[in-house]
Symmetry: C2
Subunit: 254 residues, 2 copies
DNA sequence: AAGTGGTCTAGACCACCCA
DNA sequence: GGGTGGTCTAGACCACTTT
C-alpha cells in the first residue's frame, strides 16, 4: 500500500532508518563499511554517501573520521535556563560527563569577540579550550573567553571540573544572567579536528555571554556541539523578559 | 603566510566564503550555475557540490530546488521567552512576515503526538498547516495541533493572522507557559516539498507545547525552519525554572 | 527548447586506522 | 598491510524551471 520511494537515495535512507527504528541497529553500533553497503543496495559509493549524509543531517547516524558510520545515541537535553552546573544538568539525566583541557592561553581578542564582549580595541583575553565527553564519547568542543582583570591567576588552575564552580569558590562570582545564541553551523579546522569529524560537517553552535551578580559582563563561551548529540529545552513558565514589553495587537493581515 | 588549503573542497569553500564576506556576493544573489563554477575552479560537479554543501551546512548559502544556490540572509532572532505574538517578534526586528494557510483538518493523533500531548489512545486533533514567509521568502513550515474540545469551530476561521490572537479573541485563552524542544534535523516528504528544498536537507526543528492560564495543555506546534534562517536567543536574566532546584555541589572530578 | 540542478555510474588515488 | 573512509575524475540521464 505504501508509495514506492522515488529515488535510490530515499530507498536506502528509509531502509536504514527502519532498521534503526526497529532496534535491529542499536545506538552506537557500527554500520557495515560503505563498500559492503554499496553491494547490498546495488549502487555506487556516491549514491550511498548521499543517503548516509541525509541520515546524518537528521541526527540518526554519525561518523568519526576514518572510523565509519554509527547509530546515534539519544540527545542530551540542554536547558539554558538551568544556569549553574553543566555537570549537574547531565547527571540529572543519568548520564556521565568528562572534561579534557586542551589549552589555556592569553590572546588578543578577535574582531568578532571584541564586539560580542563589548571590549575596547586591542583587548587581551584568557582562553580556555576544553573537550566534553558524554558517556565516553566526544560531544562538544568548548572555548571560554575570560576578562583577565576579573580572574587573576586562573590559567594556572585545574579546569577539568566545573569552571562555574571555580568562579564561585575562588573568585566569589556567580552568574546573575546569561545570554544565549544558538544556531546550526558547520565545523572547520581546529573544531572539526578535535571533534574528529570531517570539515564541513553540521554542528550546533551555542554561544553564551555571562554577567556576574553586579550585572557586569565577565566571560563568554563558544560551544561547538555534534549536532546529533543535543536538544535545546526551554520552559517559559510565567516568564516575561526585559525585551518583551506589554504586547501590542498586530494589524490584521500580517 | 597563510596555510594553503589541503583540499580542493576547502579551497572552493574559502574562496566563495571570502567573496561573501567582502560583499562581492550579496545576500540573496545567485551563484553562477554549477557547470560555470566547475569551469571556474577547474573541477567536477561532485567536488563542487561537496564544497557547496559545506557552505550550506554553515548557513552561508541556501538553495531552492532546481533554482540554484543563493547567498543567505541574516538570521531572524527567535526568542522562546517572548511568548505572545510571533508577528511582533518579527516586526521588532524591522522585518516582515506573511503566513499562508495550506490546510486545516481533523485527524487521529499519531503515536508521537499522543505521547507529546499526553492524550489518551485514539484521540482526535485539529491540524492547521501553514507556511511562513520572512521578507517574502519561505522560511518555515508550521503544523499546529489543537485539542478540539477547547476550540469549537476554529477550523472555519481565518488563520492568515496570528493564531495566538485568535485564541485570545475568540476563546478567551492566553498561554501561561510553553515548553520548547529545539534540535537540528532533516526535511523529507511534505516538509521538503513545501519548503522547496531537497529531501535530506538540514533544517532546524522547533517543537512547542502550550498551556493555558489554568495550566492545561491546549495545543502544540511543530515548526520546520530553514536552518540558515533563524537563531535561537535566550536571556536567562534572574530566572529560575521549576526543574532547577537549589544547586548541589558536584563531586570533584566530574 | 535550452539550461539548470538532482541523481547516478564506474572507476581512481590517498590518508588514516587497526591488526 | 589490508581495509576504511575521504577526495576526486569524467562522464550520463532525468526532472524541473525559465524563456
Amino acid at each position: 500500500m505504501s508509495v514506492l520511494p522515488a529515488t535510490q537515495i530515499s530507498h536506502i535512507r528509509q531502509t536504514l532508518e527502519n532498521q534503526i527504528d526497529t532496534g535491529l541497529l542499536q545506538a552506537g553500533s557500527r554500520l557495515p563499511s560503505d563498500r559492503v553497503l554499496c553491494e547490498l543496495f546495488g549502487t555506487t559509493r556516491i549514491t550511498l554517501k548521499d543517503a548516509l549524509l541525509a541520515l546524518e543531517a537528521d541526527g540518526r547516524i554519525y561518523r568519526e573520521k576514518h572510523k565509519g558510520w554509527h547509530v546515534s545515541y539519544p540527545r542530551l537535553d540542554y536547558n539554558p535556563l538551568y544556569k549553574l552546573y553543566f555537570q549537574r544538568m547531565v547527571t540529572l539525566q543519568n548520564r556521565s560527563v568528562e572534561t579534557k583541557v586542551l589549552a589555556t592561553r592569553e590572546l588578543l581578542a578577535s574582531a568578532t569577540l571584541t564586539r560580542e564582549m563589548e571590549l575596547p580595541a586591542l583587548s587581551k583575553l584568557y582562553q580556555i579550550c576544553r573537550l566534553r565527553y558524554l558517556d565516553g564519547r566526544i560531544v562538544s568542543y568548548v572555548e571560554h573567553f575570560l576578562k583577565p582583570a576579573r580572574f587573576p591567576g586562573i590559567l594556572e588552575q585545574d579546569h577539568t571540573k566545573s569552571l562555574t564552580q571555580t568562579y564561585e569558590e575562588h573568585y566569589g562570582l556567580h552568574f546573575s544572567r546569561s545570554r544565549f545564541s544558538i544556531y546550526p553551523a558547520a565545523a572547520y579546522g581546529e573544531v572539526a579536528q578535535q571533534l574528529n569529524i570531517t570539515a564541513g560537517s553540521p554542528i550546533l553552535m551555542i554561544k553564551r555571554i555571562n554577567y556576574d551578580q553586579h550585572g557586569t559582563l565577565v566571560d563568554c563561551d563558544h560551544e561547538y556541539w555534534r549536532h546529533d548529540a543535543v536538544r535545546i529545552v526551554v520552559d517559559s513558565q510565567d516568564q516575561q523578559t526585559a525585551d518583551a514589553p506589554d504586547p501590542v495587537p498586530v494589524p490584521a493581515g500580517m
